[in-house]
Amino acid sequence: MSLHATHRDAGKVTVVDLSGRITLGDGSALLRKTIRGLLEDQRKMIVLNLADVDYIDSSGIGELVSGFTAVKNQSGDLKLLHLTKKVKDLLQITKLYTVFDVFTEESAALRSFN
């Protein structure tokens, strides 16, 4: 299953709803394109909703980190929402769970930008 991405604005925050797999190739490329596009539009407060992402490989992890760094470098922030168990486990064993702000409720994720 390839990756699909749509985004919606919630005030100054943009929520990106992702579904599918973030893996080497099209999945990672789409995530990169989406985040870079938001930054070009000056949307620097981003929540990635990963509720429907059940698979990420090392390339996808790299793209998440790359996006996180790119947003931070522009004085923005990128946070994660609704991790599936596999994705949460993956971020925990790679110690990235402590790097990203992770939320289980969208309202709390949005409030965290205030």
Binding site: T23, L24, G25, D57, S58, S59, I61, G62, E63, V65, S66, F68, T69, K86, L90, I93, T94, K95, L96, V99
Partner: protein
């Protein structure tokens, strides 16, 4: 099985090994770990070993013994030593955008090693113990049967 040095080979290798793992009786979680490890092994061969050069090949083989499923991924690069691979959990590497594949294979498989392959490139050898009570591999999947089938293919 001989794979082209292209992105599509990663999915192909994963799907093939998942079919073998499921037939060998591995549960969903172990299949996920095996599939991910195969992906990472082939990504490593594609990106680092063969440097994404399409004239080079990736060789994938699966052995099923009475005790475990063994996966070999061989590239046509110059090889590498595990000791030279940076630790992705080190503070200075946490925000690196690459370098987690070896770590994931080590974490998800029971045994993992990198040896010098017959091509001169790196050969990843990793294995997972068969689940208790799974069908004997000497039946449908005889010792080395899968590897022989793949090599014939």
């Amino acid at each position: 099985m001989t794979l082209e040095t292209q992105v599509e080979s990663v999915n192909l290798a994963e799907e093939m090994c998942l079919r073998v793992a499921e037939a060998a009786g591995f549960g969903e979680d172990d299949c996920y770990r095996i599939g991910m490890s195969v992906r990472e092994g082939v990504i490593n061969a594609f990106h680092y070993g063969n440097e994404e050069r399409p004239e080079k090949k990736i060789y994938l083989a699966v052995d099923l013994t009475a005790e475990k499923m063994i996966i070999h991924v061989l590239d046509e690069g110059v090889g590498f030593k595990l000791i030279d691979v940076p630790d992705p959990l080190a503070e200075e590497n946490l925000l690196s955008t690459s370098g987690r594949g070896i770590f994931l294979m080590r974490a998800f498989m029971d045994e993992f090693d990198v040896v010098s392959g017959r091509t001169g490139g790196a050969e990843i050898v990793m294995s997972k113990k068969l689940p208790t009570g799974s069908e004997s591999p000497n039946g449908q999947w005889g010792r080395n049967a899968t590897r022989q089938q793949e090599e014939q293919g």
